[in-house]
């Protein structure tokens, strides 16, 4: 490959990666559009605040995912890092990402969901029996799902840590 070919393909490759990243955002975009639609439909101020907070939380989550977790350019000093060092850094980055899901993934969604639950509880249409109970069950189900996600990520973080420990052990053997 000549330098000219590389320059051309670098541009094409960057566009390809941008497109790949954009496709990965589609799921988040669908959710944001859904909540934006619901925001427009409701007249309740508290519900609107809830929808806005959820949209803000989703945007923050996607931003964090791209800046910390997704494809990123290889560092320019990749040639200075041995394969073990490089892999350890990558694994540490992934471990930090999955072990902090409360901060960047679950946490940002909590204010919006909490406000929405309160808003729905206030809007009780009156004709529904046990409405408060239904709301409480919804809230518990969401809380259980969040705890489940956090547990799965904790497990993944432990698995990554074991691989990091193995690499540390290998690199410390002279």
């Amino acid at each position: 490959m000549s330098v000219e070919q590389i320059r051309l393909s670098a541009g094409r490759f960057r566009r390809k990666v941008e497109w790949r990243n954009a496709r990965e955002s589609v799921a988040a975009l669908v959710v944001v559009l859904f909540f934006a639609f619901e925001f427009m439909r409701t007249n309740d101020l508290l519900a609107r605040v809830g929808f806005s907070l959820i949209i803000a939380g989703m945007c923050y989550m996607v931003r964090e995912l791209y800046s910390r977790g997704s494809w990123r350019r290889l560092p320019k000093d990749a040639g200075l890092s041995s394969c073990i060092e490089f892999q350890r850094r990558e694994l540490e980055r992934q471990r930090d990402l999955v072990s902090s899901v409360w901060r960047w993934y679950l946490g940002p969604m909590i204010p919006g969901l909490a406000v929405l639950i309160v808003a729905f509880a206030r809007i009780n249409p009156g004709h529904l029996k046990h409405f408060e109970l239904v709301i409480a069950v919804y809230a518990l189900a969401i809380a259980a799902a969040f705890v489940g996600i956090a547990k799965l990520n904790e497990r993944a973080a432990r698995r990554l840590q074991r691989r990091i420990d193995q690499l540390n052990e290998l690199s410390s053997q002279g």
Binding site: M1, S2, V3, I6, S9, A10, F13, K16, W71, R73, L74, K76, D77, A78, G79, L80, S81, S82, C83, I84, E85, F86, Q87, E90, Q94, L167, L170, S171, Q173, G174
Partner: protein, 177 residues
């Protein structure tokens, strides 16, 4: 001219000429799908081209090229194993895996090189890096410089990988008879 005094573009051209075929073999060992492999090879070339801005001659050109290439390829494997749910295995697990080729008598014998490549593609990145360096006829010291393992560890790993591969070849051969 010493390598560290060359311009990044010159270094890249030199590396592309000297190590182009080796990089193709490396990409082949990391990615079985021909189309994705082309992308991976391109990604390796781009990363190399960009990396030479930081090349200061602290290591040889060969070590630099292989480190960058393996690091790009290992990232690729990490991404692919998450998105395509590929399972990489340690040597102990590989030794106990059923040989897929063994059950395909009617499909005819598979070329030994294809089977070797398939086994390499199942290895975890570090084992794969060691084995590829061995197949490129690098000595243990050079492999150690690229991977970060000690030369003794490299020799041990090569010995173990060769033993596992030999056993699997034998098992495959017996089942095909």
């Amino acid at each position: 001219m010493p390598e560290k005094e060359r311009k990044p573009d010159e270094l890249f051209e030199k590396a592309a000429v000297e190590y182009g075929p080796a990089l193709e073999r490396l990409a082949h060992a990391y990615e079985a799908d021909p189309e994705i492999r082309r992308d991976l090879l391109q990604e390796i070339h781009i990363a190399l081209w960009r990396s030479f801005a930081g090349f200061d001659g602290r290591c040889s050109l060969r070590t630099w090229v292989y480190r960058v290439a393996h690091n790009v390829a290992a990232s690729h494997v990490g991404r692919q194993s998450r998105s395509r749910r590929l399972t990489l295995v340690g040597l102990d697990d590989l030794a106990n895996l059923p040989d897929r080729a063994a059950g395909e008598e009617s499909a005819g014998r598979r070329h030994a090189l294809d089977r070797l490549m398939e086994m390499i593609q199942q290895l975890e990145p570090l084992d794969r890096q060691v084995m590829l360096a061995y197949l490129e006829e690098m000595d243990a010291a050079s492999t150690a410089e690229i991977t970060g393992l000690s030369a003794r560890n490299v020799a041990t790993k090569i010995h173990r990988i060769k033993a596992v591969f030999a056993r699997r070849f034998q098992e495959g051969g017996r089942n095909e008879q």
